[in-house]
């Protein structure tokens, strides 16, 4: 019955290989790489919030190269149109008909750079493509390549002339990550390897094919969540809904995301079942961007830190199952 033939072992082998390859060029941040791979396995998308120059492009390029996929990049600007992302039908005089010119969203790993610079309409075109995994232009739906991972970035310190993603749209990203500065040793190496972003393709080797990634995604979805772990996760989710300081807790979709991220984290750790550790590890990356602070909204670096502090506090107060 299991036609794909990939079990949890195969999924974790692939996940570790991809993570290792990416870390060859994305130095000093194994956790960020791990969470990006989790998003890949759980069929989710990544929101990177960071100052420019932290290596977001390198991360996305390396990931694309490691899974043998196509990398595409879109620079979001205020005048970017939805069709600039999805593609347009262009009149072709030769064939006397419209031919579809696919937009940059037709890639395996799509870097949506500074997503908060574009208008909400353009943003929602990307977000729609992310969740539907297809693009509809002039009533024709075209499936996006598989696997499909969007790495969107937004600069939390820049407010002027931007359209911060509304809460409901933040929900569409499986994880929100911040890269931060590398530790001194890694940074030194980065500086030594300056200009290495052009050489990503030569430094990273493809370690998987698209089919293997799809099979791994499928195997990941089948990873068991023991009842006790599920109860633990749901306990945390329920607390976000009851918390005084939060105007909006984690939605049902958020809970689903947390659980699928846990599965992927278990796969990355080489297990066929989830542990409370997976929930603990994935709770902040998958949930911090989904809660809305009372009276402040979710945008901005300060709000982000406050939400993280609140959720960390919840983790510290919630008992873990087992003796």
């Amino acid at each position: 019955m299991n036609e794909a033939g990939a079990g949890p072992e195969e999924a974790s082998r692939l996940a570790r290989a991809v993570a290792a390859e990416v870390q060859r060029v994305f130095l000093g941040k194994p956790q960020v790489v791990g969470h990006a791979v989790v998003a890949l396995l759980a069929r989710g998308h990544v929101l990177l919030e960071d100052v420019p120059g932290a290596g977001k492009t390198v991360l996305a390029r390396a990931l694309a190269r490691a899974i043998g996929g196509e990398f595409r990049r879109v620079q979001f600007t205020s005048d970017l149109l939805p069709s600039d992302i999805t593609g347009v039908n262009v009149w072709s005089p030769r064939s006397e008909g419209f031919t579809f010119h696919p937009g940059p969203v037709f890639g395996n790993v799509v870097l949506a750079d500074e997503i908060n610079r574009a208008s909400p309409r353009t943003q929602s075109a990307l977000l729609e493509a992310m969740s539907e995994r297809q693009v509809t232009t002039d009533r024709v739906s075209r499936p996006l390549p598989q696997p499909f991972l969007v790495v969107a970035t937004q600069n939390p310190h820049e407010h002027h002339g931007t359209y911060p993603l509304p809460e409901s749209q933040m929900d569409r990203f499986l994880v929100r990550l911040t890269i931060g500065y590398p530790d001194p040793a890694s940074e030194r190496q980065v500086v030594v390897m300056q200009g290495y972003s052009d050489k990503v393709e030569s430094l990273v080797n493809p370690v998987a094919t698209a089919e293997q990634v799809l099979a791994a995604q499928q195997a990941t979805a089948a990873i068991a969540i023991p009842d006790a772990v599920m109860d633990y996760a749901m306990d945390l989710v329920a607390q976000t809904r009851q918390a005084e300081a939060l105007e909006m807790g984690i939605s049902t979709r958020g809970a689903v995301s947390l659980v699928s991220a846990c599965r992927a984290a278990a796969a990355l750790a080489g297990r066929a079942f989830c542990l409370p550790d997976d929930v603990k590890e994935m709770f902040l990356p998958t949930c911090a961007h989904r809660v809305v602070l009372r009276g402040r909204g979710s945008a901005g670096a300060a709000a982000r830190e406050e939400a993280r502090a609140l959720l960390t506090d919840m983790l510290a107060r919630t008992p873990v199952p087992g003796v």
């Binding site: 149109l81 940059p104 208008s119 309409r121 049902t252």
Partner: protein, 343 residues
């Protein structure tokens, strides 16, 4: 609709309803045939098989009843769905039973004119409360009455569907359909003035040039300039102005057949236009016969405009003076752009 109305009518007198599922009908027919065969032949083993099928049916009926006992459903949260688009509603079902769990529970709000896909729960432990999502789809805009909350189950054998209507009341405001607009969909000009609406999200005035980024519209590439710099450059435009746009909706029935349908199209068009402009960050107001939303911007204004448009009736008025009330209202702010939407 008919079945739904009947269901509601029945629910006043019988708070529970039992109906056969498709499989239940088959099983029932097989049982009847089996009973006839048993009576005709006097074959006791046929009676035995017949008894088994009767027992399955009876147990099914009894258990479906007890499976719903002691369950409660949270009131439906307020939603503002758009016509033709599924809206997701979260419902919490609580089991107040002391001992036995409940299995295979479905819950949905009973709303006039809505196609519903229920929220589903595989099981509910005693005392447990679980949240599930159901989906409502309305075919047209307007205000619809909530008749109750339905709890339903096909446990244990999928032969029967047992449903129970819990009292609930309220209304659901359904927004008009909003279409994504393309440039050619936008109205060309405002009434009587030769000013064009600066639509499509960008200014018309030339602002400068900059380097081409991936994702830029290739139509704006300045080829001559690019050739000179050995790198593509594009035009940049001035940001749109901050003057308000007022959408004038003539919600009067036009003469001829299909008038009501044409008014609906007009309402949708007004809604789409308003949402489009508001998403671009502009200030938008709506004026119709008999009402007005004063100009504003932001997400709250989107809600105000759609709430307003959701309940605009189709008025029967004589053609000549129809637009007079609108013009009177528009006169208050002569500086605003005006976009007329007529059926």
């Amino acid at each position: 609709m008919g079945r739904l109305a009947e269901f509601v009518w029945r629910s006043r007198f019988f708070p529970r309803k039992l109906s056969f599922t498709r499989e239940g009908k088959v099983v029932f027919l097989v049982s009847v045939g089996l009973g006839l065969a048993a009576v005709n032949t006097g074959n006791n083993l046929l009676y035995l098989v017949f008894s088994l099928s009767l027992a399955l049916i009876v147990i099914s009926g009894v258990l479906s009843e007890s499976n719903l006992r002691g369950l409660a459903c949270s009131p439906m949260p307020g939603v503002r769905p758009a016509a033709g688009r599924p809206a997701t509603v979260a419902l919490t079902v609580t089991s107040r039973r002391p001992r036995f769990p409940a299995f295979s529970i479905e819950a949905w709000p009973l709303v006039d004119g809505a196609e519903t896909e229920p929220a589903r729960f595989l099981d509910l432990r005693p005392g447990q409360a679980r949240e599930g999502a159901c989906r409502l789809t309305f075919s047209r805009r307007g205000e619809f009455a909530l008749r109750g909350l339905v709890l339903s189950t096909t446990f244990p054998f999928s032969f029967f569907r047992k449903s129970m209507v819990l009292p609930a009341s309220g209304t659901v405001l359904v927004h008009p359909r909003v279409h994504r607009l393309r440039a050619e969909d936008l109205p060309p000009a405002s009434e009587g003035e030769d000013e064009h609406l600066p639509l499509a999200g960008r200014g018309q005035e030339f602002f400068g040039v900059r380097d081409f980024h991936e994702g830029d519209n290739p139509r704006h590439v300045l080829h001559r300039r690019s050739a000179g710099r050995l790198q593509p450059v594009v035009r940049e435009f001035e940001q749109a102005g901050s003057r308000a746009v007022r959408i004038a909706l003539v919600n009067a029935l036009p003469p001829g057949p299909g008038g009501a349908e044409r008014v609906e199209r007009a309402v949708e068009k007004a809604a789409s236009l308003a949402v489009h402009l508001l998403e671009e960050g502009r200030t938008v107001g709506v004026v119709s016969i008999g009402g007005e939303v004063s100009p504003g911007s932001g997400a709250a204004q989107v809600a105000r405009v759609l709430d307003f448009l959701a309940v605009q009736p189709s008025l029967e008025m004589n053609p000549p003076g129809v637009e007079e009330p609108i013009r009177a209202a528009l006169a208050a702010d002569p500086r605003a752009f005006v976009a007329w939407v007529r059926p």
